[in-house]
Structures are given as structure tokens and as C-alpha cells.
Amino acid sequence: MPKKITIEPVTRVEGHGKVTIKIDDEGKVRESRLHIVEFRGFERFVQGRPYWEAPVLVQRLCGICPVSHHLAAAKALDVIVGAGTGDGLSAVGDKMRRLMHMGQFFQSHVLHFFHLSSPDFLFGINADPAIRNVIGVIEHHKDLAVQGVMMRKYGQEVIYHTAGKKIHGTGAIPGGINKNLSIAERDLLLNGEAPLNADQMVEWSVAALNFFKAYHKSNKTLVDTFAEFPSNHLSLVRKDGALDLYHGVLRAVDTNGKRILDDVDYQDYDKYIEEEVRNWSYMKFPYLKHLGKEKGWYRVGPLARLNVCDFIPTPLAQKEFEEFKAYTHGKPNNMSLHYHWARLIETLYAAEEIRNLLKDPDLQNEDLVVKGEKLNKGVGVIEAPRGTLFHHYEINKDDQITLANLIVSTTNNNEPMNQAVNHTAKSFMNGQKEITEGMMNAVEVAIRAYDPCLSCATHALGQMPLEMKLVDSNDNVIDTKNK
């Protein structure tokens, strides 16, 4: 008798999610779906609000990467206040925002890897969940845990000094920023008491990469085959092809590396990207219009970014990037667990960028805001830690928002995450008569490679309140398992 297995809830900052795995009479996985079943409504309730509230209001979408929403909204509003499409800000405006963004990347990537994902690597996917969590990491790998906590703290400090608060600050305003970086703040971040200084962060980022590479070396099959599937990849890149997480043009490549979106201006994103609605999830499914729904979906995030860009403009991260690219002989990398490898290369890049920016005297300039002729529409696109993030606003003559369209990173990764869940379910659950906690966790590991926002609140404590249901074709519950 066909069965349906439901993993619920898979908690998520933007909402509530669950996984459904349908199994046929032979015990084979037929289909798996990741459902996002909660509606947020930000695009609606921002309507009517004055436009300058958007960066502060919309960032409340998320508590892990609010800076990304804050900056994407501010970038869209830069266009509206006539400050150009990403390159019209003053040097201090541009660089303070970049510094804020790098602080965000650093803390978010560290949180993602150390706090949420490292337990799976350190203890194994099948390990006892009582140990396989961040508390277990603290108990059994104290140095690594302290390193992760302090790295995240440093990133949060960078955000604090640029945005005014560690979470949900107000630093970016339409046309620029509301503060520069004082000399005292610069010195604190650059040369603060160990370990909270820029050099230490670069050193620890290298160490984190080495940790992952060592794990990869001894677990090659798992890391290389876990949820490995072909896809397109999309991200922003700097106009010269460099990795740029703050601003650039949109580029996409297919699974062979062929350009399928060639460095286009994101102000016209709606010419290239369409969103499909499916009746079983509140989260839409974006795809490249010209390739259609079936072939146009793409991955975003660290793996996609390293597949799309030509080089990384900081020396240590570039060296790692070359090794990463060589692993797939220059072709796009489609291995889901390699997201973590790419994530750690980006963490190193962020650490190097923070160090570089802190040494830049432009950060002490006073010309904080640039404004020009007002427009009624603006699009802001940024690379958030989880991937490409689109904010689109339109305003009326009274400065009120009339339209908001957000395509968040998680939405861009919707189809890939569904694919990853499906691949994992087939690998781990085919032919199994009993569902183990390890199998359930394997599905979460697949999601977690893309997005910790689906599991952060619970996995961190090792008590994810998962409920798995076995349901027959008539939706009768045969068995229920909780952990």
C-alpha cells in the first residue's frame, strides 16, 4: 500500500515548513516535496507605508540575515531617490554598506556552518541527536565551538558598528548611510583584543576551510554524492566577472557552464525571471523565462556564486577558489554538500574584505547621502548569504509604496531544495521498512546545505520537534514517529 511520510514541522524563520515523502507498495520513494505552509504577507502590508520605512520594516522578514533585506531594500530605494543603480553612492556610503554586508556574510556563514551544520560532520548523520547538536560540539570539540562562537560575534560587531544594532539596525537609508565609521570603531574591529580582530578572523576562516577539506578527504563518497544533481546556477557578479556579493550584474550558467543569462542589468529582472505558483506550497518557484518552467529553474547561494563568477578579488580566497574549481575541472559543481565548501571560501573572502575595507580611509568621510531626481520605481538586488535576493518597489507621488515584490534567496532555491530532498529520500529511504531518525536527519541535512533558516531554531538545540507520519493512499495514518 502506498505510504506518505510527513516530516513536520521543519521550522523556518520565514515560516513553517514540512516535508512529505510518498512511498509506494514496494517501499520506493515516488515523490518528495518541501512545503512552505505559512504566509508572511510583507509585500502586502508594506503597501501604503512611506518608502524610507522599507529597509527597516522589511528586514524583519529574517533574524539571521536581516542586513541582506535591509541593504536590498535600500538599494532599490537608492534608485527611487535618484542615487543611481548601485554605483551612484558616495564612497563612504558604498563602503560602509559593503562592510555591513561582509559582517553579515561572515556571521551568517559561520552560524550556518559551525552552529547548524558542523554537528552532522563531526558526529555523523546517523549519530544520536542528543550529541549531534551545537551543545555536543561544545562538549566534544571545545576549540572549534569557541572559534565558531567568536567568529560569529565578530561579524555581529561589524554589523553593530555599521548598522547601529547587531540585529535589525538602521544604517542604510535611501541614497546612502546614516553614519560613517569612527577611528575608534575602525581600530576596535581591525586591531581589537584577540581574538576579536580582523587578522584572527582571516586565520580562523582558513582553519575552518581546512577542517572541511579534511572531512571531505575522508568522506569523499558522501560529500560528493549526497544530493548531487545537475542544475543551472544564478548570481550577481561584478561587471568584470569577479565575485561581488553587494552589487553587479545578473549572470546564469547551465550545468555545463554555458552562459544562459549574460550579465544583464537587474533593474529589468522581471524580463528574465518568472515565478510559478504550485498549489501545495506558499513559496513560489522562480525560473528563467526564456528556458521555461521545466528547464529554467536554478540554484543560488554559495555554490551557484562560485560556479558563476570568474575569480575572487582577494588573494587567499582566490587560491581556495582555484582549488575548488579544479575539483570539477572548471565545470559547474552540482554537489549539494559542496555548498559548505563554497560557503567557507566565501567566509574567508568576507574576512579578507572586512580587513581591506577597515583599512580604507573613505570610511571616515562625511558625505553620507546622495540624492537626485526622484523616480517611482526601483529594484535592488544583492547576494544574501543564502543566495540572490530581489527587492522591487514602486511608489506614488505622495511617497507611499504601491507595490513591493520580493524574491528571497530561499524562494530562488525552492526547486533545488525540493530536488535535494527528493534525491536524499531516494538514497536513504528506498526499500526501508522502518524510518530511522538518521534518515529523517538526512533529509534535513539536504535542506540545511542550502538554508539554515529551515532548521536553525531547533537543530541548534538538538531537539527538533519533528513529526513523521506514515500515511496510506487514503491518508490514513499508519504510524507516527516523533523525536
Binding site: 501604503g48 507605508r49 512611506p50 524610507w52 520605512e53 529597509p55 527597516v56 520594516l57 524583519r60 548598522a163 547601529g164 544594532k165 535589525h168 539596525g169 538602521t170 544604517g171 537609508i173 535611501p174 546614516n178 553614519k179 547621502v369 505622495d398 511617497d399 507611499q400
Partner: protein, 231 residues
């Protein structure tokens, strides 16, 4: 003839000129009594009741009551502070006050009072009223979601001819403070800023300058409300 009087607030002797209100006399003697609708230069009206005190065992508003010799006043007591907290909670639930995205956060007297009286979650149910935002003036936004009907804007923001920019409209629970549409079109930047500054909450917001003042530098980021008065 001696023009001074003496009375006590929470046991502390207060010396004041005759004719002063209790809230004024208290302020001059380093005793903070919270206010919201009261504003310098505007005749007090006792509207918001934040300044409620107990005089010789009887509840009164200290902004409207002249100080008199020999008064025994209770102000900073558990009973009265709980009453003040309830007033703040009622103001929060009767509007739509979402501090996280409000430009006035950190400069807002209502928010500062909520912190001072340690409001966590209001004990009253939220009414979530449907309110409009009037953004028709090129200089300000009048957000009815956040208005506490204190009338400070009505009484302090005027043209050179004494015409009021703001006025009451409707009655009862429909009562609102609205901006005169014609005067709103002619408003200067200076008047817009003054209106925003005189508004104790985020109901009047100057256009185009949102969030230019960083977190940490705002008035109540530095010290809790009343700290400048209390000694």
C-alpha cells in the same frame, strides 16, 4: 508678602512659587512626574492622565492642579506607577504602534514611557483599528495609526497668522487629528520639523529624512525619560 509655598511629594519637601502647577513645581525641584499631552507654552488640560498623582489620598492630574501649601502628594508609588503603566498599555492597544519600523523609535515619548514603566505585553487586547496614512502634504506624513490625540500639534503648529495646521475631525472613537489639506501643501521644512519634534509619538513624520539619525544617538537611547529632571 512671601510668594513661596511648601508641600511634599513622596516625602520630599518641594518649595515653589505660588501659582505653579504641581508638575512644574516638581520639575523645578528635581522630581519627575511623567507627562505626555502636556507641553511647554500650552495651557494644560489633563487629557492623557499620565501625570496622575494622589493628593491627600485623592487622584488628581498634576499638570492641571496648582500646587498649594501643605499638600501631601504621592507620585512614585507602586499603585500610581501601575496606573500609569495601564494608561500606556491602553494607548498602545488603541492604536497600531509598531516600534521596530517607526522612525520615531528612540525619540518617542510613548515608547520611552513604556520602557520606564516596564511594559512588556499589554494586559488589554489589541484593537488593531483600521487607520489611514495621510501622505498628501509634500513635507509630512500624518499617520493615524500612531496618533494618541494629545493635541500638541494642534496647539503649537500654527501659521504666522495663528491658523492651525492640525484640527480634530469626527467624534467618539472616530476622533482624529487631521492635517488641513491646504495648509499641508504650503508647509515649510521648518514647520514640518517642528511638527515632528512636538509630536510625542511617530504620528507626524517629516518626509525624506527617515532614519537619518543613527540608533544610539537618539534622545532616549542615551538616558531614560525623566532622567534629566530626577535628581
Amino acid at each position: 508678602m512671601n510668594n513661596t509655598i511648601k508641600f511634599k511629594i513622596d516625602g520630599k519637601e518641594i518649595v515653589a512659587e505660588m501659582g505653579k502647577t504641581i508638575v512644574e513645581a516638581a520639575k523645578e525641584n528635581g522630581v519627575y512626574i511623567p507627562t505626555l499631552c502636556n507641553f511647554p507654552g500650552v495651557p494644560p488640560k489633563g487629557g492623557c492622565r499620565m501625570c496622575t498623582i494622589k493628593i491627600n489620598g485623592r487622584f488628581m492630574t498634576s499638570c492641571t492642579t496648582p500646587a498649594a501649601a501643605g499638600m501631601e502628594i504621592e507620585s512614585d508609588t507602586a499603585e500610581i506607577n501601575d496606573l500609569r503603566k495601564s494608561i500606556i498599555e491602553l494607548l498602545f492597544v488603541s492604536g497600531n504602534h509598531f516600534c521596530p519600523a517607526c522612525e520615531k523609535s528612540g525619540n518617542c515619548e510613548l515608547q520611552a514611557l513604556a520602557y520606564k514603566y516596564q511594559m512588556m505585553v499589554p494586559k488589554f487586547p489589541y484593537s488593531f483599528p483600521l487607520k489611514e496614512v495621510d501622505a498628501s502634504s509634500p513635507k509630512i506624513i500624518k499617520d493615524q495609526n500612531r496618533c494618541v490625540l494629545c493635541q500638541r500639534c494642534m496647539k503649537t503648529i500654527k501659521t504666522e497668522d495663528g491658523e492651525r495646521y492640525f484640527a480634530f475631525e469626527n467624534r467618539g472613537d472616530k476622533l482624529e487629528v487631521i492635517l488641513d489639506p491646504e495648509l499641508g501643501q504650503k508647509m515649510t521644512d521648518e514647520i514640518a520639523k517642528l511638527a515632528m519634534d512636538n509630536c510625542p509619538v511617530g504620528s507626524i513624520i517629516q518626509k525624506e529624512v527617515g532614519f537619518v539619525e543613527p540608533i544610539g544617538t537618539r534622545k532616549y537611547d542615551k538616558e531614560p525619560i525623566g532622567t534629566d529632571i530626577d535628581v
